[in-house]
């Protein structure tokens, strides 16, 4: 399976990119889903997409810390403007979806993105 980019992911499953658009060609090597940030710190890896409904500033901090491919924020949650600004600064790609985490993870799996 060829490695796909963040851009391919959001085009195929209809996500709304809202920050660090210049980075969208970066590869996606895996996925991780949890709403607990301490779990994401342990479970998400470099170049993974992290799926969560959390949208506060620490999400950006963790995505930057782990050098994630991006964060998919589900259930229509929209981060505050200062969160988007910080994501822009840290080159963290935030992608929004009205769908819930379960649906998004299913679609990522269908694209061949592994979980471990």
């Amino acid at each position: 399976m060829a490695v796909i980019s963040v851009k391919t992911v959001f085009e195929k499953i209809n996500l709304e990119p809202i920050s660090a658009i210049a980075e969208v060609r970066r590869p996606v090597l895996g996925g991780y889903a949890s709403d607990l940030l301490s779990c994401a710190m342990r479970g998400a890896k470099k170049d993974f997409l992290w799926v969560t409904l959390q949208s506060h500033i620490n999400v950006v901090a963790i995505a930057s810390l782990l050098n994630l491919a991006g964060v998919i924020i589900t259930e229509g949650n929209r981060p505050a403007p200062e969160v988007v600004t910080q994501a822009e600064k840290e080159k963290v790609i935030l992608l929004l979806s009205p769908a819930n985490t379960f649906s998004i993870v299913g679609q990522l799996t269908a694209l061949g993105i592994p979980g471990e």
């Binding site: 710190m41 506060h56 840290e90």
Partner: protein, 260 residues
């Protein structure tokens, strides 16, 4: 605190309080959050009781207590602890030694990660004059591997009190993370943010009806310090506060809601 008149030591007095204040030890707090300025702002707000509650640590509590000597502001040492469930809890104590003892236990349960200042902000330890002493390198902005129940039990066994923080916030709070108030907090106080409106709030969260709610600032900058919660009690002690939360023997908690 002034010495009490020995003939009048059980008189009920009013303590205007903000029990959730961060200092420069919290990475997310502004650099202005040093002892002298916190006390200056507290005095301006008419407070005579405050608690120092940094994330998962209490290195600066003693400095604020020291800076408050000779003022009429009483300072409680404490911390804002993040549980395994990512719920923020205020842990308050009477004595700084007890609070340090608690911090030792908490540090054993924190992951040994290094703070990244660029992402989480610097964690400065200062003296009473606000001068820099050292920088805490350990990452404090994360969860201690302790459950809510463990925390409540252990804090109580040290003579402290645990209060769930900003329960109306959409993250790091009892209601957002657990969806309901667990048994261990079925009595006792809950903290709400300064944005909480009791009418609409209790419609949104029926479980907050008939609960003892207190408003604190969760101040990360001076202007966020609040003066809307008043305790009626004899002394600024945890045991008196606990009686006030339960409305026992004339002790009580009064909250001014009208500022919303």
């Amino acid at each position: 605190m002034n010495e009490d008149n020995p003939f009048d030591h059980d008189r009920l007095r009013l303590f205007k309080a903000d029990l959730h204040i961060h200092t420069v030890l919290s990475g997310c707090a502004e650099i202005e959050m040093i002892p002298s300025l916190i006390l200056w702002q507290a005095e301006k707000k008419g407070l005579n009781l405050i608690a120092v509650t940094d994330h998962n640590a209490c290195h600066n509590a003693e400095a604020v207590m020291e800076a408050a000597m000779g003022t009429n502001i009483h300072v409680l040492p404490g911390m804002e602890l993040q549980s395994r469930e990512e719920v923020h809890l205020l842990c308050l104590f009477d004595a700084v030694e007890t609070c340090k003892e608690w911090q030792e236990k908490v540090f054993q349960k924190l992951p040994p990660m290094v703070n990244r200042e660029k992402l989480f902000g610097p964690q400065y330890v200062v003296n009473a004059a606000g001068e820099w002493l050292w920088t805490e390198e350990r990452l404090l902005a994360t969860s201690a591997d302790m459950t809510l129940e463990e925390i409540v039990d252990q804090v109580a066994s040290l003579g402290g009190v645990t209060i769930p923080a900003h329960v109306d916030r959409p993250s790091f709070s009892l209601l957002s993370n657990l969806g309901l108030v667990p048994e261990v907090f079925s009595h006792g106080p809950l903290e709400v943010t300064s944005f909480f409106n009791p009418q609409t709030g209790c419609q949104q969260w029926p479980q907050l009806r008939n609960r003892c709610l207190i408003v604190n600032g969760d101040a990360h900058r001076l202007q966020e310090i609040q003066n809307r919660t008043t305790f009626k009690m004899t002394h600024p002690l945890i045991r008196e506060m606990v009686m006030a939360f339960q409305g026992q023997q004339g002790r009580q908690v009064m909250v001014e809601w009208s500022k919303n």
